[in-house]
């Protein structure tokens, strides 16, 4: 997908929880807060590597393993991921009671 396509996908997924896989192997999970010309900004949801799966649903349109590390400490607020760095986006299936 092109940068423009990722941009419009992020716009559509605004307010939703997603997992973004980058070309460098990093994986970011969070809620899409906003986007600007070049980046999508995420609110982190947790530090756990597995967060989002809850052992139930898994991913909406999943892609195979090889996840990198999740958010590290220091990302207090929403942070940006450049559209150009994105290799794939999936909606997270979260489980609430």
């Amino acid at each position: 997908m092109s940068v423009g396509q990722y941009r419009s996908l992020c716009q559509r997924y605004s307010g939703k929880a997603v997992e973004i896989r980058c070309h460098d192997g990093k994986v970011h999970r969070g809620i899409i807060q906003r986007i600007d010309r070049d980046r999508v900004y995420l609110q982190p949801m947790g530090r756990s590597r597995n967060f989002g799966g809850f052992g139930y649903g898994g991913y909406g349109n999943g892609y195979g393993g090889g996840y990198g590390r999740s958010f590290g400490r220091g990302f207090g607020f929403g942070f940006g991921v450049a559209f150009g760095a994105i290799a794939g986006i999936a909606l997270l299936s979260l489980f609430w009671i």
Partner: protein, 236 residues
Amino acid sequence: MNYTYLECLALFGVGGAHPGGLQLTKKILAEEKINGDTTLLEVGCGTGQTAAYLAQQYGCSINVLDNNSIMVEKAQQRFSSLALSIDAKVGDTENLPYPDKHFDIALSESVISFTNVIATIPEIKRVLKRNGRLLAIETVLEQTISEKEQTQIIDFYRFPQLFTENEWLTAFRDAGFQRVDVTKYQPGLEQVDEQHAADFSLSETIDDALLEILGKHEEIMQRNKDKLGFRIFRCS
């Protein structure tokens, strides 16, 4: 600050924060006769995702209530942005601010579980019309667990009780419901899609402590996968 699980849901503004999400809600309601004359009460409306859907889909009259003022505020924002007239109040399920025999349908999406069940169910029954029905998606204890495990679950979610299916059935019958149909809900069978994924109405600042709560929730759900189950109760 120590947040509770429900406060965490409110600050993240999770829409459809119940087993099955909006997808299950739609499925359950599709089986009910609902039209423009139906009066409906949703207890524990959260950010109002379900109520907004109901108003748009059926054009019925809807009252919603939640004991969390942040949730009610976020629900009101949603309703006004969609130009829906839905009455949203801060209130307590154990003392509902509505007259007797007022509603055709009452809906609880994983809400009664978080209240004193023995006080809430008769109160919902009170505001239902004679032929009214209660639709509830709730957590049940599937198997005997150690006191330690039970305490951990109850303390984290602040459940006043953790009922088995039979205990729920007794509570509904004791409140005067004649007929209770039970359906088991098995999580994780449906694929999440854009239309049904939970939506988030985030508060401006999200404290790091909230991330810990989400992590703990995940851990407890994982660990008790076979011990906690979910039921759809239809009580009339």
